[in-house]
Subunit: 289 residues, 2 copies
C-alpha cells in the first residue's frame, strides 16, 4: 500500500492520529521536500516519529518514482507531504504510477493553506480562483496573475495568492555547466509579493489600463499559518509592502467584496489600529482606505 | 483560552496530535453538530478522547455563546468542528465574541472538504468559486448556484458544490405552533443534487437560454471523503443522477477545462469503464460524452 499523508501546516504535532499510526508501521517513509515546509525540519520529524525519513526532492519524485513505489505492492510505503497531499501541488502522477503498477493507495488528509486561510476571517466561499505569484527576474516579469485577480475582483471574490518557493534551484551558469550546485532556498515574502503587485499597478496606470486594485486596496498578509508564531496582518497593499512578517511560508490575499463580519475579523489583524477604521466604500461592499 | 479545533473528515483518528492533547486538557469540550458530520458519532469521539463532550447545536452557538465562553479567560475551553474550524461555515462570530470578552483564542486546523476534494485528481488551483446547492421544496426552487457554475465554466474552472444539510429543522406547522419537535436530519445526496441540476438544464433549454453545462457534462460525485469507505464516481451529470453513493456527506463537482492528467485521474473513478473513454472535445480542453 502507498500512503499519501498530509502533515498539516505547523510543526510535528499537526499530523493526525491516523497519519502517525501509519508512519510508524511503514517499511519506508519519504518526506516530500520541495512544495512546502513546516516550521520544523526533518530532524524534528524523525525524532517525533522515532524513525528515519528519506528526503524526496523534485528530481526523485519526478524521475525516480519507481524507487519510491518499490515493494509497495507487498509492504507499506508512506509519502509525507506538508499540508494536504493534494494541496498546492498535486501528486496525481505518483498515484497514477502506483495504480498502473497494481499498487493500492490511500490518502490521509490534513489542513492546507487553501482552507486554513479562513483563520483571517475571510469566508472561504467568497474566494475565487487562486493564483501563484512567481519571483520576478531582471528579464522576466510576468503579470498573468494580475488578470486572474482582476477577474475575481470584478466578481467580488477574494484571491488567495500562493507565493513562490525556490528550493534546490541551480544558477543559470551551474545549470549550463551541468554542475549540481544549488542556490540557497528562497521563499517569497508578503512584502516582496506586494512590491511586485505595486509595480504592476504602476505599469498599468502608465499604460492607462483599467485597475483591478490599487495601492489602497485592502489586503491580508499571512505567515506560518497554523504555527505557534503565526502572523496575520491586514491593511492596504502599500502598507503590506513595508511589513515584515518574519520567516516563511507567507501568503497574500487581495480582498474582493467584504461582508461586515469579515471586516470585523480583519480589524483584529490591522497593521495599525487606525488602518481599517475609516474605509471608504467603492460600492455596496468594496472598501478602500 | 478558547481553542477551535478541526476534527478532519473521516472518523475519530483524523484529529491531530496537537488537537487531541488540547481536548484532553480542557475544562469543557463542545462538539459543533450542525454544519457537518463524521462517519462516527459523539459516543465514539467520547470513548476515543476519554471524556465527555457537550453537543452544541445552532441555537446554542448563536444564542448562548456566552455560556460556551464562560470561564475561558481563566481556564481552557475547546470547540470542536468537523473539517476545519473555518471551513464550510465560519465561526468568526464566536471568535469575535471571545476577543471582545478579553479571551484569547487559538485555532487547530485540519482538512476540510475544500482541500480534500483534490483526492479525485482535479487540481485545486483549477477551482473557481464554490457553491451551495439547497434542497428544493414544492414552492421554492432557487437556481442562483447555476449562474455561479456558469461563470466558473466560462473561465474554464471546476465548481465544488456543497450539498445541503438539514439538522434540527422544524416543520412549518411545528415552527408556527412553537413546538420544539424536529424533523429527522437530511443530507442531500449526489443523485439528488444531480437531479436538481438536470431540472435547471431542462428549464433553461425550454426558455432557450445559454446552457453552461448539459446532461453530458463530466461531473464527479464524492461521498465520505477521508473515511475508509469513501466513494468517488466520475461520469456525466445524467449518470450521477442515478448513482447511489451510500451514506452522507456527499459533494458534487461540475468540471471546467480538464488537463490530460486530471482526466487520467478521473478515469480511475469512472462510473462505467467506458464512461470517460470516448469523450468529445468541445474546445481545447472542455470535454463532453
Amino acid at each position: 500500500m502507498l500512503y499519501l499523508i498530509g502533515l498539516g501546516l505547523g510543526d510535528t504535532k499537526d499530523i493526525t492520529i491516523k497519519g502517525l499510526e501509519i508512519v510508524k508501521k511503514c517499511t519506508r517513509v519519504y518526506l516530500e521536500a520541495y512544495t512546502s515546509i513546516l516550521t520544523v525540519g526533518k530532524d524534528a520529524l524523525e525524532e517525533f516519529y522515532g524513525r528515519e525519513l528519506i528526503l524526496a526532492d523534485r528530481d526523485m519524485v519526478e524521475q525516480e518514482a519507481d524507487e519510491i513505489l518499490k515493494g509497495a505492492d507487498v509492504s507499506d510505503v508512506a509519502f509525507l507531504v506538508v499540508g494536504d497531499p493534494f494541496g498546492a501541488t498535486t501528486h496525481s502522477d505518483l498515484v497514477l504510477r502506483a495504480v498502473n503498477a497494481g499498487i493500492q493507495y490511500r490518502v490521509v488528509h490534513n489542513a492546507s493553506i487553501m482552507n486554513a486561510v479562513g483563520c483571517c476571517g475571510l469566508q472561504l466561499y467568497n474566494f475565487g480562483e487562486m493564483v501563484s505569484i512567481v519571483f520576478w527576474t531582471d528579464t522576466w516579469k510576468p503579470e498573468s496573475f494580475y488578470d486572474k485577480i482582476q477577474r475575481n475582483r470584478e466578481n467580488g471574490m477574494h484571491t488567495l495568492c500562493l507565493l513562490d518557493i525556490k528550493v534546490k534551484e541551480q544558477s543559470m551558469e551551474n545549470l549550463l555547466r551541468g554542475r549540481k550546485i544549488y542556490e540557497p532556498p528562497r521563499y517569497m515574502s508578503v512584502s516582496q509579493a506586494a512590491e511586485q503587485l505595486l509595480e504592476i499597478v504602476q505599469n498599468r496606470r502608465e499604460r492607462k489600463e483599467d485597475l483591478a486594485f490599487t495601492e489602497d486596496t485592502v489586503c491580508v498578509g499571512l505567515a506560518r499559518v497554523g504555527a505557534e508564531d503565526q502572523a496575520i496582518r491586514a491593511g492596504t497593499l502599500r502598507q503590506l509592502a513595508s511589513c515584515d512578517l518574519g520567516g516563511p511560508l507567507h501568503s497574500l490575499i487581495v480582498t474582493g467584496h467584504l461582508h461586515p463580519l469579515e471586516l470585523d475579523m480583519l480589524r483584529l489583524f490591522a497593521i495599525e489600529s487606525t488602518a481599517l477604521r475609516d474605509l471608504k466604500m467603492l460600492d455596496s461592499s468594496t472598501y478602500t482606505s
